[in-house]
Symmetry: D2
Subunit: 355 residues, 4 copies
């Protein structure tokens, strides 16, 4: 396991570099006999792809997924699903200037230190472009979870200092209506302005994404090390540029008293508040699962910065390539994809608890 | 893998309930021929155990670890290490009143929903008492990492609203000198007062723990899904009562610009700032690894609360048993143990990158 | 994963050396709410233990299993099961003479080469004494499989050149009625004589064990790498002294024609012959699963042999300690235990194929 | 893990059906910075592909591997390697007649029972065509092992009743000079005649493959469950049509005495005989690793046989499609590929034994 595999029963093993021939992966453990909506998968990829608006990277990728196995007559066969997404718009010459030097806060230096060799074009394997494979697997997971009526609402809740006041489960239409994928129109407007100003200054800016999952039945999750929110945390922190994760009350819990934090029961087993974020002792309690993910500003800024050369010199240089001024709008489907993979995986794992 | 296993090459598989005969586990993948300081392991357990002061649970446990295999002539043999810690001070009758009802914000309800059976005494397997096994494995990991000069500094940096201003690498002596394991004397004093007042009110309070790891060589961590900080996040969120994790700049990154967040290089490959928290692209860069962990207030408050009975009724009841008013002082060695296990595991995994 | 873990959903992680304090393990993934017959577990251990007759090692071990967790009110809780078996009759001084030398065809040399350190007393971790942990896990697996009416018949079908003519599913009473666990009385008698003569000559002898499993439903097993018989093969070859595995027609298939080997169907899906051994394409077809396991003669013979010393000298020496002249009678419960663990694990894995 | 993943540190995850668009996989854990001979990989595929001679399936596949990631400037980057092999010569209409019926001794029935859906064209995922992905991964593993001077000799040692008398390490030239991949010319001639006669009779025939691996250093393999030969057994039994595995003395050991079976040492740690097959206690001892693999006759015979229909009727039918009269000649590179993957995986695992 050298890092390209995720999941226990529903698994994705992915491959591909930013400027290679293609990216893709193998999904194993897909339940059998599920009718697939292939257009829905492609539309998830379209949500992630660059070039959607002025706010994001202008790289033009069609990001068309080609499935090579695992389906028959439009249904999943239960065997492994191979797929590829070809790279079209590689402008590798943009990266000639970093061939022998390391950009600050990128993975250039750490990959070189680890492997002694690196594909410097667009960050190679460390590029966020690898997340296309996650979106494909997540889209399949969501189609399975649809049969269980499990629903996701994922959206941008903060960009820079502009934040959405009211969290909760927002309908997808509201989220997708906004260029920044923030479901509140006036907040979204401010976020767009913030990103636009940042972009014009040749800078980048961070943000937060919220995810709310409804109808996860009680009992999903494993005790001790494989707590459901522990795996969600790993899933989120494995996404490029993520610096933090919190479930339910999160960091605010540190300043709270037990008497205010405890989620008192209703008679039907639901709770009056949801500081637990839908998970207690690592296992879902039937309430909505609610977590937030923090993204740092993209490291590729369009300003002159000092890079480190292989030979240990510092040289001023500009980063070329096409980058996002703010990554969170495009990261929404990635967060949702990873969440869906985790929930489906743990749903399947839970089936072995009873004979 | 039903949740009681952690790690890939250096692994802990644990067992045990709060009020069972014993807890313990199996550690596999311990490097061979390492001379062991058994007293140092016991002293880590002593840091975690209840009854250390008025601030924490008065349960009296000796928490003596007995090793049953894996050592010969005082050295590790490289084969699996079995160990047990016996339970001495079980007062199971304290739990008679929750036999048929579920405490709010505990795992009582979710375990019952998942398994259809539960050991209600002290929370059974969901009790934080299971962390004794983690401390044993972490203590062994730290002894291995000592040979590589990798050092840990883990301490309480917030209790309620009282927080430590300056983070960094504090010497263990300073941390252990304080009842709350906060290395600044005056902040520690305020934290103790805060906990004491909370305790007297029959309430509990949350907090934050910071961990700083020095001398991790560059190149440790795997790409894509098994990023080093993703596994650290999972490790931390798997600890009871943890609600959040952040690495480096963490949630503050959301409000930052790329131009301020980027860590510019020095000529030796170190960086002028460390917003990355020592990890870039999932792989260590040689800078200190710095993260924070948020703990909720303990759910067992000594006030009358409504519980849910098996039959769907709500009844007012008091939680008995012996509990911590604030869990973070005792959680410090647990956070450190999990961090040590992750670092050693990934250090060993990295050995296979080159022939 | 340093070798002491077995299984995917139903897992055993074991520890312990021949002359250490105790052996044991952790069983994870036990289905919840199964009523346990603890005496039945102990009686499986009694079948494996030394000192049962003149035919086997005279070492006197009570082999009493102590469960430390995972049960409540006589039922499995679904959480991890810790257990230990104490060593009583360690005569470590028997092994002083091999402290600095390697016995032929033992693991002494290979452990020393691998680890650079070894517990030479009784073979340490390489001793077949580790199989006690397997028998405990297998006994639990069998109790679960009982609920599905899955039954095992495991017996000795060859000792030296004496072999049982008719294979099939023999009742346990017939098998256990014989000192060598061969269900045919006259064959058993010849086997006993063969072993007795071998023992008196200070020598040892090999043998074969057959295993037949009835009522495994069709559909158990995974495609490609995790074929059901592939995992059975691994399980069997992981047992000390095993040199070969065959399923159904096995090695005889090499000399067969397709027209005679093919198992023609009956209208109900069963087959007229069972050369497939109950598994086709890695997946059970509902017919009895039938395989055979070859054991080499025990390496510890009571004759003078040349050992290799640490310093590269050859010295004539006698092996002390207490050993079996033929290992297969005591290996029967071990083979059955491993088979039960595999079947249960794959039964549980199969539950995730359908939503 | 639904069966399409193999290995712990060096892993292959594969996909693809006999008559789908393409087969392929992801190789993860490839050591970095290894210069690759891509032609050597293709030539391994050529050894496996159909249409090589009259003896094997006439299906015409170019079996050209396309690598999509994981290499840069002709060297491995250490990150995951995606690859595909397109299907060219699918004659799916050959399989219309089995759309609703199950061929005897194929996986048709078991896949239908397991998944409730199956790609009936050419056996779908259960087809031996999936082994192309194994050959690619094995070819890469061999190139890594070349740097350690670890060498493989794999050849046919039995077809029907014709068997090679002398086993051992034969040079590749001798093996490849023969259409049946048997290194002895006169035995090979008899085998060819046997296969030819069988083919003309519309029948198929089984066989044995021997594998000998030289220069594996002592110390490779893990104790207890992950013994080196246990994983080799699993690897071999996971290949289509394999019914048995034996290491060293194998099944013959059952009839041997310890005094003749024990491998006595030479002063340099090598042994005078090699009944152990190069592995003791699950760990290599530096002697050649020697094992044999038994293959059943291919189930697809060109004779009228009874099939079972979905509706439970038996109907006489002929199998169409293009099949091998004897699979062992083409299985030689598959056996070698799997062996290479296991040896490399365990070589890498062993690196973590010492700090």
């Amino acid at each position: 396991m050298a890092g390209s595999n995720f999941g226990t029963l529903f698994t994705l093993t992915s491959f591909g570099e930013s400027h290679g021939i293609a990216l893709g992966g193998v999904i194993d453990g897909m339940p059998a006999n599920i009718e697939i909506d292939f257009e829905a998968i492609q539309s998830e990829l379209d949500r992630r792809k660059p070039g959607q608006s002025d706010l994001v990277s202008p790289r033009k990728e069609k990001d068309v997924v080609e499935f090579l196995s695992g389906f028959f007559d439009g249904k999943s066969t239960g065997t492994s699903i191979g797929f590829i997404i070809k790279n079209d718009d590689q402008q590798s010459k943009d990266y000639e200037n970093i061939k022998d030097s390391f950009r600050p806060s990128h993975a250039d230096y750490t990959y070189a230190e680890k492997y002694g060799i690196r594909d410097y074009r667009g960050g190679g394997r460390s590029s966020a472009r690898e997340t296309v494979a996650r979106v494909v697997a997540g889209a399949l997971a969501k189609q399975v979870l649809n049969h269980l009526d499990i629903r996701f609402s994922t959206y941008v809740c903060q960009v820079g200092t502009i934040s959405l006041e009211q969290l909760g489960f927002y309908p997808k239409e509201l989220i997708e209506a906004s260029l920044v994928r923030c479901p509140n129109e006036s907040t979204a407007y401010k976020m767009i302005q913030e990103i636009e100003q940042t972009r014009l200054a040749g800078d980048t800016i961070g943000g937060l994404i919220a995810c709310c999952i409804e109808n996860v039945p009680a009992g999903i999750g494993e005790p001790v090390f494989d707590k459901l929110h522990a795996e969600l945390a790993k899933a989120m922190l494995s996404i490029n540029a993520v610096k933090g994760f919190e479930i339910g009350s999160g960091f605010a819990a540190a300043a709270m008293k037990g008497s205010e934090h405890n989620d008192l029961f209703n008679a039907d087993g639901s709770t009056k508040s949801n500081h637990s974020g839908g998970i207690q002792g690592g296992i879902s309690n039937g309430m909505p699962i609610e977590f937030k993910v923090a993204f740092k500003p993209v490291a590729s800024i369009l300003q002159t910065q000092e890079m480190l050369t292989k030979d240990g010199a510092l040289k001023s240089s500009e980063i070329k390539g096409r980058h996002d001024a703010c990554v969170v709008p495009r990261a929404v489907p990635i967060v949702e994809a990873m969440a869906a993979m985790v929930i489906l995986d743990f749903y399947l794992r839970n089936k072995s608890v009873h004979l």
